[in-house]
Symmetry: C3
Subunit: 139 residues, 3 copies
């Protein structure tokens, strides 16, 4: 069994953003040499997300509006978590809706994705350095 | 390490539905010959879901009502994604709540599920052919 | 390939709670002897969750308030599922938001977690015995 590990680093200039990281994961996969196996991609931070959906800017605006309705950033005092001095209570909630991680099948050395599936980093509390972990196991 | 891959195809006649796919995954597991490992089951389409919950029709109606409240289909113009000519903006949101994939342990050649756990395909934009990927790795 | 399986048992005295199970999973990992691989941790019950977030009590109160707003327990008759004699319809919905499972990378014999990542058991219909499955594969 082969295993491979890499961290992808981000420093998003805005509070929230969706970044297509599919090319970086394909690079990891090539570097790993794994032909059959599983690829785990997870946010290492608890106010960020890794998820799979469509690379369509209108949809990403819909996610932004929808998540802000489900878990508004303001007023910040509505979240007990923010009494710790943080203002990111909403980000911990938004990330639960979008998910921490994806597991992608590896087949013939490629990510085994459907026609429109793309992997995204979802940032909900940016303006600082954060990481995504790519872990690949297989043969 | 063994690996196994199969696509399950669906063509749901309605816009939304929940289909119990546990028997098909058990068939895959038998065919794979894997006794110890992990089984990934994921929607290959971004307006569909694979999730684990109870096979109880009242609950499925509750999911339908609840998801429609969290992310209503109508009015379709409320979603920027629908400016692309689609009317499935809501389906991309509903799928994030229900999730893209499940990972199930394989123990002694069986899916290692709790007493009420069943695997479902969740369709949120049906009336066309769509796929689920089953990927099994182990020994 | 090594594989390891263990059930963690819970009997939560309240209806809802969040329990940090990171130390128990670290124990499983040591017992497994796996140095490189993947660790699946999933609720075996469909009204409970395993998720990763922050071990901060204010945040856990925020989750409690937020989930109760998204899927209120009362009135219990609002859920068709409760016509079966249950009163846990809301718990099946809350669990979908928080998720059934996490997959954690194993690197150098340790859970490969970010600085604040902790693994939690989320109970939404307690006061009875329930289980979490830990399945580890690797080498």
């Amino acid at each position: 069994m082969k295993s491979f590990r890499k961290e992808l680093w981000f420093n998003i200039p805005t509070r929230r953003a969706f970044i297509n990281i599919t090319p970086q994961i394909e690079d990891c996969l090539r570097e790993s040499g794994v032909k059959e196996g599983l690829c785990l991609v997870n946010a290492m931070h608890i106010t960020a997300s890794v998820f799979i959906n469509d690379d369509e800017s209108g949809l990403h605006q819909d996610y932004e509006v929808w998540l802000e309705k489900l878990a508004p950033h303001e007023p910040v005092f509505q979240y007990k978590h923010n009494r710790t001095g943080e203002d990111n209570g909403d980000a911990h909630l938004k990330r639960q809706v979008m998910g921490r991680e994806v597991v992608v099948a590896i087949t013939n050395g490629r990510m085994d994705l459907g026609p429109w599936e793309q992997v995204f980093y979802g940032e909900f509390d940016g303006q600082r350095k954060k990481r995504v972990l790519v872990k690949i196991i297989g043969e």
